[in-house]
């Protein structure tokens, strides 16, 4: 069977234990026909980059509600790049203050989706971003 699936890693870096949002996003991406690798709570950036490498994912979704996004996100991006996976798209969910959004987008994050985001929004963004790289 020859088919191309979008593979997404959903991870929760850092120490907050609220994974409802991450699970909802994982489920929505599954329903959009993607293969979602769910890694669970309390992942270090190193664990996330390693899993992204082994699973050869197209996209990494990070859920952060601890406020540590300005430390964790750059580290994940850096490690992905160090592994030769600069083509991997990173998106963010959770609680991110408005003033950090432009900074994160500038670092290369493709989207930041807080509470209340419609699942169509990030599903479409992810599809577009992956298609743009593979084209």
């Amino acid at each position: 069977m020859s088919e191309q699936k979008i593979r997404v890693l959903i991870a929760k870096p850092g120490l907050d234990g609220h994974d409802r949002g991450a699970k909802v996003v994982a489920r929505a991406l599954r329903d959009a026909g993607m293969e979602v690798i769910y890694t669970g709570l309390r992942q270090t950036p190193e664990m996330i980059a390693e899993a992204a490498l082994q699973e050869d994912v197209d996209v990494v979704g990070l859920s952060i509600l601890s406020g540590a996004h300005m430390a964790l996100v750059p580290r994940v991006l850096e490690l992905l790049k160090a592994n030769g996976q600069e083509r991997v798209k990173v998106f963010l969910g959770g609680i991110v203050p408005d003033e950090d959004v432009p900074l994160l987008l500038k670092m290369g994050v493709i989207g930041i989706y807080g509470p209340g985001t419609l699942s169509d929004t990030y599903v479409n963004d992810i599809r577009k971003a992956v298609m743009a790289t593979n084209a």
């Binding site: 069977m1 020859s2 088919e3 191309q4 699936k5 593979r7 994982a26 489920r27 991406l29 599954r30 329903d31 959009a32 026909g33 993607m34 293969e35 979602v36 690798i37 769910y38 890694t39 669970g40 992942q43 270090t44 190193e46 664990m47 390693e50 899993a51 490498l53 082994q54 699973e55 050869d56 592994n83 030769g84 996976q85």
Partner: protein, 359 residues
């Protein structure tokens, strides 16, 4: 990266090349196929161990503990409540690959692959490579590309490859055709003794594990499994009946039979704390020794390659056949069937004869 570079990268131990090759192989691309052809001569060395059983019996946790034990025998043993009588230190495999399969949604084609959640202890160990796979429509408990993915990991030099199936019920037995050693994981409280004598998954076990052995009911589960096994592999059996000692002789043991017969051991484990893991690793090693001694290794190898050849042959022939069919012939026959004008047998005859005429 070209396919030559991919295969060379896999052989050189480049993890990114390995991961990409696995994707190409899983997607069945031309690059994947040619990489596989290049890697095939380097395969056939790894010990393939299948882990199957119903959902929630603890397969992922067990795989995690096993890999942990193989990587750090000392730590694994100290973590468990019991100590191995003497793990074979020299024969410890060095590098472990894990292929974890979870089901694809039949409606959307999407999947949640959640086996890594239980394998976080293995993160950061460069001697372990974990890959999650979705079944992508395959119903036998593994994906149709799992065999090929395993071959790539074998060529990459992983000595022991643990293949975890989807939560398997009774008939997902494809793993037995792929693995050298099949571990069937049960847990207390999942069914009565009739479940244990049904055909299917229990028959493929080389090692039976009763996980969650700290839960009540573990004796009943073990007794049911042992009873079922005794029917398949009768052993001399003594028991008290109306106060008299009775004995049922086992099957006639010829000098050969005692060497060639493998009776699946039944082991208790608690995957959460590692209890019983050294014994399980020992049973896996024993089974390997048994396969080597009896020629079972070559036999399984041959059976596996034959299954793969047959599948590829079928797919290729069907694909080629459908490509040669005149446009609309297939749809026409399907419609005739739906209108009950022709039977499925007649439909096949019509298509095959039709294609013959075209050639």
């Amino acid at each position: 990266m070209t396919e030559i570079a991919l295969a060379q990268g896999v052989l050189a131990g480049d993890r990114l090349a390995l991961a990409r090759t696995l994707s190409q192989v899983e997607n069945g691309t031309a690059e994947g196929k040619s990489a596989l052809s290049e890697l095939f001569p380097y395969t056939g060395k790894a010990h393939l161990v299948g882990v199957t059983g119903a959902s929630g019996t603890g397969k992922s946790s067990l795989v995690n503990q096993l890999a942990l034990y193989y990587r750090q025998p000392a730590k694994g043993a100290s973590m468990s409540a019991e100590r191995a009588s003497g793990p074979p230190k020299k024969a410890e495999p060095r590098r472990i690959a894990i292929v974890a399969v979870d089901p694809t949604s039949p409606f959307t084609g999407g999947a949640i692959l959640g086996d890594r959640i239980r394998m976080r202890d293995l993160a950061g160990d460069p001697g372990v490579f974990i890959r999650s796979m979705a079944t992508r429509g395959s119903l036998g408990g593994i994906a149709s590309a799992t065999a090929a993915v395993v071959q790539v990991l074998d060529a990459a030099g992983y000595d022991l490859i643990l293949i975890e199936t989807v939560g398997a019920g009774q008939s997902e037995v494809d793993i037995a055709r792929l693995a050298h050693t099949t571990i069937v994981v049960e847990a207390p409280g999942l069914g009565d003794d009739i479940q244990a004598i049904k055909a299917g998954i229990l028959e493929i076990a080389d090692v039976l594990v009763v996980n969650k052995a700290d839960l009540p009911g573990v004796e009943n589960t073990e007794r049911a499994l042992r009873g079922s096994l005794n029917l398949a592999h009768p052993l001399p059996h003594r028991f008290m009946h109306h106060g008299k000692l009775e004995m049922v002789p086992g099957q006639p043991i010829t000098p050969d039979a005692s060497e060639t017969l493998w009776v699946p051991p039944i082991l208790r484990t608690v995957a959460l704390d590692g209890t019983g893991i050294p014994k399980l690793a020992e049973a896996i090693a024993n089974h390997r020794t048994h396969l080597d001694a009896t020629g079972g290794w070559e036999q399984r190898e041959r059976g596996r390659l034959q299954t793969e050849l047959d599948l590829l042959l079928q797919n290729t022939l069907v694909e080629g056949f459908r490509a040669r069919l005149p446009a609309g012939a297939y749809e026409q026959v399907l419609e005739d069937m739906q209108e009950r004008r022709i039977s499925p047998f007649q439909a096949v005859e019509k298509l095959v004869d039709g294609a013959g005429a075209v050639q």
